[in-house]
């Protein structure tokens, strides 16, 4: 199970003559099996944080420790391997490959995991499609599916390599409210039943309220980090307008 530790995580970059502090000394831990959401205004650094936890982006300073492995010194190939074995991704726009059918999209990460997909891979993909309720659409192309169905395929794809951590970037940003509830419910169920750690970025307070822990970012810094046990998840101490995208 994933145990993520961020130590003084900092990302600065130049935009013209200005120095942008996308992330500024963030330190926190995410324990195995947690269901965490990051909220904040546009430019608060939440997506940058997600990219660095997902080993897609290297920090200017600080460390990302995944299951005891300090990742910032790993080479690109090692980071890619770790990503494929330990981390799943869900994106707002689903990012399914149009040339592949549903089953092939779900099995895509197996191709890069240096594991033999074979029958086991296919069986696992079919199980996941059963879980997300799309076992009758395995041969369909992404263009033949609704937004909610595509996102469910993306969830199945994120889980194919049995990751310890799934990172979701605005997973309900492109679907209607009812579908958003279905999607978050599905993630919640997988989190509870399979013990997969979920970390999602969202601007949807209702969605954030359904997570176990809400971390609020502002100007690249953590301004609050509250668990469900701390206080009711409805407002979480977030001032009105703070989570607008």
């Amino acid at each position: 199970m994933a145990n993520i530790e961020l130590i003084d995580l900092t990302k600065h970059y130049r935009q013209g003559k200005n120095l942008v502090r996308a992330l500024d000394g963030v330190s926190l831990q995410i324990q195995s099996g947690e269901f965490v959401s990051f909220v904040g205004r546009s430019g608060s650094g939440k997506t940058t944080l997600l990219d660095m936890v997902g080993l897609l982006l290297r920090p200017t300073r600080g460390k990302v420790v995944v299951d005891g492995t300090e990742t910032t010194r790993l080479g690109d190939g090692q980071r890619a391997d770790l990503r494929s074995r330990r981390i799943g991704f869900i994106f707002q726009e689903y990012n399914l490959l149009p040339a592949l059918n549903v089953l092939e999209n779900v099995m895509l990460p197996l191709r890069y995991a240096r594991r033999s997909g074979g029958k086991d891979g296919k069986r696992r993909a079919m199980q996941l499609l059963e879980i997300v309720g799309l076992s009758d659409r395995v041969r369909s192309r992404p263009s033949e599916l609704s937004g909610g169905q595509q996102q469910r395929v993306a969830i199945a794809r994120a889980l194919i390599n049995r990751p310890a951590l799934v990172l979701a970037d605005e997973p309900t940003g492109a679907v209607d409210t009812q579908t958003a509830q279905e999607v978050i419910g599905l993630m919640r169920r997988i989190n509870r039943e399979e013990g997969v750690t979920f970390a999602l970025v969202t601007h949807d307070l209702d969605l954030a309220a359904q997570t176990d822990r809400l971390i609020r970012l502002k100007d690249g810094k953590v301004v609050s980090d509250q668990s469900r046990v701390d206080q009711p998840m409805t407002l979480m101490g977030v001032p009105a307008g703070e989570v607008a995208i």
Binding site: L56, L57, A80, D81, R83, A99, Y112, R157
Partner: protein
Amino acid sequence: MFEILRNLSRRKLRSILTISGIVIGIFALTTMGALSERFNQQLNAGVAFYGSNVQVAAPDQQRTGLLPISKMDEIKAVDGVEAVFPTYSVLVNPGTSFSFGGPPETIFNRIPEESAYRRPQITIGQGTDLSADANGEVVLGTTLAKEYKKAIGDSIDLPIKPNDAGPDFVNHTFTVVGILNPTGTAPDSYAYISTADAQMLLGDSLPPAIRQTLDLTQVAPGFTVYGRSDATLDELDQIAVRINAEVAGVKAIKPSVSVNGYKQFASLFTVITTAIGILALVVGGLSVVNTMVMAVSERIREIGLKKAVGARTTDVLREFLAEAAVIGLIGGLIGYGLGAALTLFINAGSFAGSLQLFLLTPKLTVLVIGFAVALGAFAGVLPAIRAARLDPVTALRTTN
């Protein structure tokens, strides 16, 4: 593979245009390559033949162009000479010359004893060889037999009477006793008769004034001189030098001169084929580059996604190279298919009877298809590198 084909089918028109570029190049490469293979086959046979003996003719200043048979004994006495045979030749169709399809159809005298020396060897496929005292018998090369629709036992008038033949034209009826095994080279379009019959045809071709003054059994247009069976080209050249020095009234041609002539001719075709290859490279290669650059531009998010789910730089590079190579393969197969169909059609139809113009060999097939795949992959290298180097975060946030 299916993914690549589906990606190609997503942009049908562009894929068709790209593949068409390769098809054109490979089509040209196939036809010119087949032409080159045919010529090389013939030229190699020419090199083998002329590299195995010394041709002796009359000196340039000699009016009749004929040599006395007695010179054969003098040549036999030259150091290194193993055997000497008189050579008679008459055109099957008077008035023809070396054509684009190969040497003209020619009637030669065939001496059974010479077979042991001749390179490359020719063998009888149907019927029998000429008998020792053959009279009015002919052995035909396969192309001649096919062209004139002759089988064993049929008769044929040689030389063939031209449409514009004069009143003094003479030919003779021969019985086909044998048909050679196909060689794919010049002997396929040759007819072989006995030396006595060849002397008769030679006489027919000479002006009456000369013919009446000559004993045709005592002259020959040339001799073929053989050294040891393992004599090198240099050694045969030396024999030619010694013949010229020791035997008056003859002109021995160094075999290296003939061989080099053939090789220069072969070089010309190599240049032509190479030029076509470069044309294919430019036309097909640029179209693949264009397509792959567009494919990378359109699929930036896809590349980002693949990297996010664990694809290494080398994985992305390999996938795009494979896609480019498949484009090359498809274009190569179609181009080769069209080229092969055209060459087979021309071989079977328009030039029936004469030497076939094209030769499709396994080597050419592998070379052409391999070239097409390599061309596609090579043209896809830069776009693939560009794709592989994409930053996944930037790629994932790109709006296509």
